[in-house]
């Protein structure tokens, strides 16, 4: 690897963010153990600040900077959890945040970002307009751009979710499963497992309709997707160079699963565990349901990545 990571990097990230994040609970479910025939340990990042693990990386990034570096504020483009995470991180550090959001982003997401005191800059809903928006913000304000995943501070921050999970378990799980979109959570989780529980195999869990990580993992080179198509909206992004090089080195396999199983897994979690998870978050359980012969009888750590669902679209 070009970049070197040590267990101290992850421990330092954890020390840095600990005062600002929730140590989320690890839940079990007799009912889901029965259905899968495995022993599942769910790390509930849906209960994390901003409703997703993204708070870990963003807070680690901002507090890894010195005061001069962050003095002009932070910026990013995102319509999702990373936008809220950067807005929260900036608020904690007492610096401004400038979030470039597509004009068609859901009102509830804009309201959440604005609720942390961030300034929202609207742009056309294209990747090009988003990137240009950020460049303009950087030129005008001097704010520091924080990429949602292709950044070692983000990777080390996301690594702390698996660290807490492994610390809380009284055993080394046979497998650790995490969803993969841009790869920040998966790369971080695989680093942590490498250092703290090397006998645990790490599985990246990806929707079939956005299988760039699966393809890249097997071909050995990044294969971005032009038009991903999956209900798991948090996983439509493609790997970055930094996340990919960690994933190639430390992840044991990447498995894919179709949206119908993802939806079934999400409903099972809502129904049996009485907790809210977003579709992206249900992909690891969907993989476990798809491959019973691989996971039955095993101890499985599962990272539940987030719980931000647009409830406005649900009818009661």
């Amino acid at each position: 690897m070009t970049e070197l990571y040590t267990s101290s990097d992850i421990a330092a990230a954890h020390d840095r963010i600990r005062p600002y994040i929730h140590r989320t609970p690890v839940l079990t479910s007799e009912s889901l153990n029965q259905i899968t025939g495995a022993s599942l340990y769910f790390k509930c990042e849906n209960f994390q600040k901003v409703g997703a693990f993204k708070a870990r990386g963003a807070i680690n990034a901002v507090f890894s900077m010195n005061e001069t570096e962050r003095s002009k504020g932070l910026t990013t483009h995102s319509s999702g959890n990373h936008a809220q995470a950067i807005a929260l991180a900036a608020k904690l550090a007492g610096v401004p945040a400038f979030i470039v959001m597509p004009s068609n982003a859901p009102k509830v997401k804009k309201a959440a970002v604005a609720g942390y005191g961030a300034k929202i800059i609207e742009c056309e809903p294209t990747q090009k307009a988003r990137e240009e928006g950020v460049i303009r913000v950087v030129e005008e304000t001097g704010a520091a751009f924080i990429h949602p995943y292709n950044d070692r501070r983000i990777i080390c921050g996301q690594a702390t979710a698996a660290k807490e999970l492994l610390e809380d378990l009284e055993l080394s799980p046979d497998f650790l499963l995490a969803p993969v979109g841009g790869g920040g959570l998966l790369s971080g989780s695989s680093l942590t497992t490498h250092f703290l529980s090397p006998e645990t195999k790490v599985i990246g869990c990806e929707p079939s309709g956005a299988d760039d990580a699966f393809r890249s993992f097997h071909s050995g080179k990044i294969e971005p997707l032009d038009s991903p198509n999956t209900i798991a909206d948090g996983l439509r992004t493609s790997l970055g160079e930094r996340t990919f090089e960690v994933i190639r080195e430390y992840v044991d396999d990447i498995l894919t699963v179709d949206d119908d199983v993802i939806l079934k897994a999400m409903r099972l979690i809502w129904e049996r565990m009485k907790i809210i998870v977003e579709p992206s978050c249900a992909v690891p359980l969907a993989i476990i349901l798809k491959y019973p012969e691989k996971f039955s009888g095993k101890h499985l750590g599962v990272i539940l990545s987030g719980g931000n669902v647009d409830l406005e679209s649900l009818s009661f």
Copy 2:
């Protein structure tokens, strides 16, 4: 009161059921504290066995009986959480359960009851047919009928949720809020509070469309409702004599709230706490939202009664 309750009754119930129930967590939410201006402590019975506090009373009832009394099994009529609770309690005691359910009960509820090994007896969806069904079961099988709330063993069992909440808090809350339907949970909670935290005021929380407890509390006599109309399906039942006499003695007030606020409160809990609660369960938060001048600045214990929502009816 005709019936005498002591703190030992509740402690004994707790000892009796402890091996079989979850000690559910007490959760807090910064976001809901901000919205309400109060400090809220949520006792999460939506995570209880069968997804509701009803498991407590049913298990206490079956293990309060001697082996002869329960040897022929248990019976009740219910389309809701009490049916599952009795089915579970019978399974734990190793005796049969005969559950009379209306023919229009949701499939998912029937499946849950059958999943505990109970025998389901279908009847016409009227109160009369349900009661006749139970009488027939008792005549034919000798099973013991367990009423869903008008039973001191049920009341003492439901009282243990508030007991755990008060034990887990480091302070005496100013108010304890619980929903009221038949009154098992509210009467039990008020007994517990009377014994363990007498300075805490107990508030019964009721939908305006099923306000029999509110009326009965103020008139001093039970005023059952013929046709309750509320989304809070668990609270459409009317008080019984046993629950009413406890409520008259130990509850400080009963407040009512409309369905639109109940729905808003339910969405807030889903959205901000990332947990699934049923509409009945959201009535206390709806009351807190409705009366900010009463609750702002106070410490409030809130019993979240259950999480059984028919997710089939939600579209994603």
